[in-house]
């Protein structure tokens, strides 16, 4: 009963001065929204960054240890066709269970002839290739399975150069070996793949006369749980004769951007929180001054310092809670807007930034009220009778 009446008192008091409290709620909401936005971005973008990297493609390449320096892109010469045994794939399959891998795709590069044109030929696991490169755009279809021997996907530049469309027959020759295929899709990545012809790994090995061989393996690893460097070390340890190379520039650029953004938002959150605290302190001080007689009356009726202090702190807490709730929601929206404009995609929602910003709102409002509350508890009951 005592607590229920206490809540009734707080509710009546807040309702009586709702216009003035709204200013304080707004001040807290602004601070909480910055905290919420900063945390949502910091937590969410870590995961988002990994997703973004995956959209760009593999973030680790496995190449032969004795292989050439260039390990990505269209093979520019014979030196790129260094070999790894495809038995490595079985070993990688075992190792991958303990690592945060999204997927991996083996690649075999060779040069082929289509009539009088020379094109780069790539053999791979079609399904794994799409998993590792989810951002690729394909017109038409995709090679159905790893054992499909007659389907090919053309890079868009190759298709244009040769005037081929989906459904067209395709004849490829490598060192006198000739095979017929059917074009099932046109691939457009904006990268080196636009200049290539994709076949299944098995078909490419057979056509190139390099059974059981690979050029490299593309690996897509999640950067959320473990740093990418940890994964590369684990892969190199498990696969002798193989070097794992990280797409470091991309990772580091994203991490730098994220760190700067978080720092900027953190600084802004700090400043806005200080301003919020000052706003709440000013509102509470005015409230105490205006209610001097009410406070004196309460003390004359037998309220001790604790009871009076508790009442004002509860009001401050309610302001903090309301501001925190409003700010947390606004912060999430702000974070989404920032993420969309900077990273071009929404950040995943997590409860911790929302809870922390609500808690922060309550704490800031309560801390900012300490001096006004102390003033309230010091009011003498005699002011009521003296008529001051």
């Amino acid at each position: 009963m005592r607590f229920r009446f206490f809540l009734r008192l707080v509710q009546r008091s807040l309702a009586n001065r709702i216009g003035k409290w709204l200013t304080a709620v707004l001040a807290v909401a602004m601070g909480a929204s910055m905290v919420s936005a900063a945390l949502t971005l910091a937590v969410g973008m870590r995961a988002k960054m990994s997703q973004t990297l995956r959209a760009y493609g593999a973030n680790i390449l496995l190449v032969p240890a004795a292989g050439p320096g260039r390990a990505q892109g269209t093979p520019g010469g014979e030196q790129l066709f260094a070999n790894m045994p495809d038995s490595l794939l079985a070993r990688l399959g075992e190792v991958s269970r303990g690592l945060p891998l999204v997927g991996y795709a083996p690649l075999l590069y060779a040069m082929a002839e289509i009539g009088s044109h020379r094109v780069a030929l790539v053999g791979t696991w079609p399904d794994a290739m799409r998993q590792v490169n989810p951002g690729w755009r394909v017109e038409g279809g995709w090679i159905k399975g790893r054992d499909e021997a007659e389907e090919a996907v053309l890079g868009t530049s190759v298709a244009q150069k040769l005037g081929l469309t989906v459904g067209a027959p395709l004849t490829l020759s490598v060192q006198g070996r000739t095979r017929s295929f059917r074009v099932v899709g046109i691939l457009s990545t904006g990268g080196s793949e636009d200049e290539q012809v994709l076949l299944t790994l098995h078909a490419a090995q057979e056509l190139a006369g390099r059974a059981g061989q690979l050029s490299l393996i593309q690996v897509s690893a999640l950067a959320t749980d473990r740093p990418t460097e940890d994964v590369t070390r684990a892969l190199e340890a498990a696969l002798p004769g193989v070097v794992a190379r990280t797409q470091l520039r991309l990772v580091m650029a994203e991490e730098r951007l994220l760190a700067r953004l978080s720092l900027l938002l953190g600084l802004m959150a700090g400043l806005v929180l200080v301003a919020s605290g000052l706003g709440v302190a000013a509102t509470m001080t005015t409230s105490v001054l205006e209610r001097t007689r009410d406070i004196g009356l309460m003390k004359a009726l037998g309220a001790g310092r604790t009871r009076v202090g508790r009442l004002f702190l509860a009001e401050a807490g309610a302001i903090g809670l309301a501001g925190g709730l409003a700010g947390a929601g606004a912060g999430v929206l702000l974070a989404q807007a920032i993420a969309r404009s900077v990273f071009g995609a929404a950040v995943p929602l997590t409860p911790s930034p929302v809870l922390v910003s609500i808690g922060m709102g309550v704490v800031i409002a309560s801390l900012a009220s300490l001096i006004p509350v102390r003033r309230a508890t010091s009011i003498e009951p005699g002011v009521v009778l003296r008529g001051e």
Binding site: L301, R305, L385
Partner: protein, 235 residues
């Protein structure tokens, strides 16, 4: 004579300035006694009431309330003594404006022990406000507000009632109603200390004391029709 429930011995209260509000006042009030404190504005009446009500401490001298020396108490103990022993009635009523009549009564219960709405309703019914429970102070007349104030002062059954000009803001009809309540309370055995300017109200009390520039002086009998002697004053 019974042991006094209120005792003041050589009490002096000096405010910054310095202003001597009470000067060496000695006074005893017995249990169940109704004492009217009279005097001009600024004579120290309210200061005396503040000291008796444990709302303030004397600069010098002793104030003893129901056997407890107020001067020896810490702030919390003083609050507790006031909560248990004293009911306060004000000229300006001093109701919390955003609480209804019944909630204003419950506020005093809450600070004392537990808020009990049924008991608060009964208290209002006893002062004739059973149909005004959920009205805000601004929706009540002066007389009604004063009756809420009286019900609030009585809700925790204090032994001492301190009233500061309780009819000062009331018209004649409401003054009569309120004074009838005081007479009933006196009959029920409450000790009443009432500050008043009005000699007719003062006449209802068992005893009148008068303050002049902070000192107790003999009551001006010419102001009190039918009154034959000065109040018992020791200074």
């Amino acid at each position: 004579m019974h042991e006094p429930i209120i005792s003041m011995v050589n009490v002096t209260k000096v405010f910054s300035g310095p202003v001597v509000a009470l000067d060496e006042v000695t006074l005893e009030i017995g249990p169940g006694e109704w004492v009217a404190v009279m005097g001009a504005s600024g004579s120290g009446k309210t200061t005396l009431l503040n000291l008796v009500g444990c709302l303030d401490r004397p600069t010098r001298g002793r104030v003893v309330l129901d056997g407890t020396d107020v001067g020896q108490l810490r702030e919390g103990q003083l609050t507790e003594l006031r909560r248990e022993k004293v009911g306060l009635i004000f000229q300006q009523f001093h109701l919390i404006p955003y609480l209804t009549a019944v909630e204003n009564i419950m506020l005093a219960q809450y600070f004392h022990s537990l808020a009990d709405e049924a008991e608060a309703r009964e208290a209002l019914a006893r002062v004739g406000l059973g149909d005004r429970l959920h009205h805000l102070p601004s929706q009540l007349s002066g007389g009604e507000q004063q009756r809420v104030c009286i019900a609030r002062a009585l809700i925790n059954q204090p032994r001492i009632l301190l009233a500061d000009e309780p009819t000062g803001n009331l018209d004649e009809a409401n003054e009569l109603t309120v004074m009838e309540i005081f007479q009933r309370l006196h009959k029920d055995g409450h000790t009443i200390v009432m500050v008043t300017h009005d000699p007719h109200i003062g006449m209802l009390a068992d005893r009148r004391i008068e303050l002049d520039h902070g000192r107790l002086v003999p009551v001006h009998t010419h102001d009190l029709a039918g009154e034959s002697s000065a109040a018992t004053v020791r200074s």
